[in-house]
Amino acid sequence: MIDVTKFKPKTVYITYIDATPEAVFQALTTPGFTKQYFGGFAIEVEPRTGGAFRFLAPDGSVHIAGTVTDWSPPRRFSCTWTMVSMPQYALPDCLVTYDIAPAGGCVRLTMTEAHQWAIPDAILSGGRAGWPAILSSLKSVLETGKPLSVQMEQPTEMLEALQALKR
């Protein structure tokens, strides 16, 4: 069993979306949706707590892999992330949790990125730049059917911090 209490929240992003909780849950967990708003990456997930999870890059290679720690449609989806595409840095897994709650005439989506080590802000900067773009695009896909054009530049600060960590 994965002890999720070891992970402490470091980055939180909240957005409100004109959609049902079921539609938001589906957008977070099906490849046809994630490819549109998550940098072209397709999610593959076994729909159960304890199941396997991964993100495939457009070329089919595994970018992120992990284990589902909470599969509670349509309220919560949580999984560990191992950065498979960056093995040279040997980063400890993080925990990404999506909480979906009805909020008046729409839903509130809260993304929480939690870590189990004293991760420097410079490394967190990559996610902090990326999540607003990804989740803004997710909101656009659900509300208008059209993703944003938000392919990001290289997260330079994060990559430099990772490089420094290796030395």
Partner: protein
């Protein structure tokens, strides 16, 4: 201990000019800012005002910097009856063109220690800015409930 700063970034499929208009004109703000009529299209030194849906003045703050459609800075001291002692804080809107869209960064800072406002705005801005994005992209704002307290203030005549 460092003073709290709130930062929120959102990407909107609209030009910076459109985002600027939505942030500064009351006939647009009332369609996404939960009925509040926000006027902030003046120059530095002029006033930002917000009138709640019940017609009561909720803000009368100085515009600190105005550089349309790139940067808007104003003071923030809500005129709530039950918070006469809150010191003014500061809101900065940065509008950057991003691949034919706008990256909007809202920074709310300069809070006093123990400010009650910080907790309120931390809940409020994600709702307001999500609704702004919906308004500009699909033509209508959202109606999220983010707290009974805010609902009460909006109706306070």
């Amino acid at each position: 201990m460092s003073k709290p700063t709130f930062v929120y970034v959102t990407y909107i499929a609209a030009s910076p000019v459109r985002v600027w208009e939505a942030l500064t004109r009351p006939e647009m703000s009332e369609k996404y800012w939960f009925g509040y009529r926000v006027t902030a299209d003046g120059k530095a030194g002029e006033r930002m005002t917000a009138v709640n849906p019940a017609g009561r003045l909720a803000h009368d703050d100085p515009i600190i910097e105005s550089d349309p459609p790139r940067k808007l800075v104003y003071g923030w001291k809500p005129l709530y009856k039950d918070m006469p002692d809150e010191r003014p804080s500061r809101v900065t809107f940065l509008l950057e063109p991003f691949k034919g869209q706008t990256r909007l960064t809202v920074t709310h800072d300069e809070f006093e220690d123990g400010s009650r406002i910080f907790g309120m705005i931390s809940k409020g801005w994600p709702a307001v800015l999500s609704s702004l994005k919906s308004f500009l992209e699909m033509g209508r704002g959202l109606e999220p409930s983010w707290g009974e307290e805010e609902r009460k203030r909006a109706g306070e005549a």
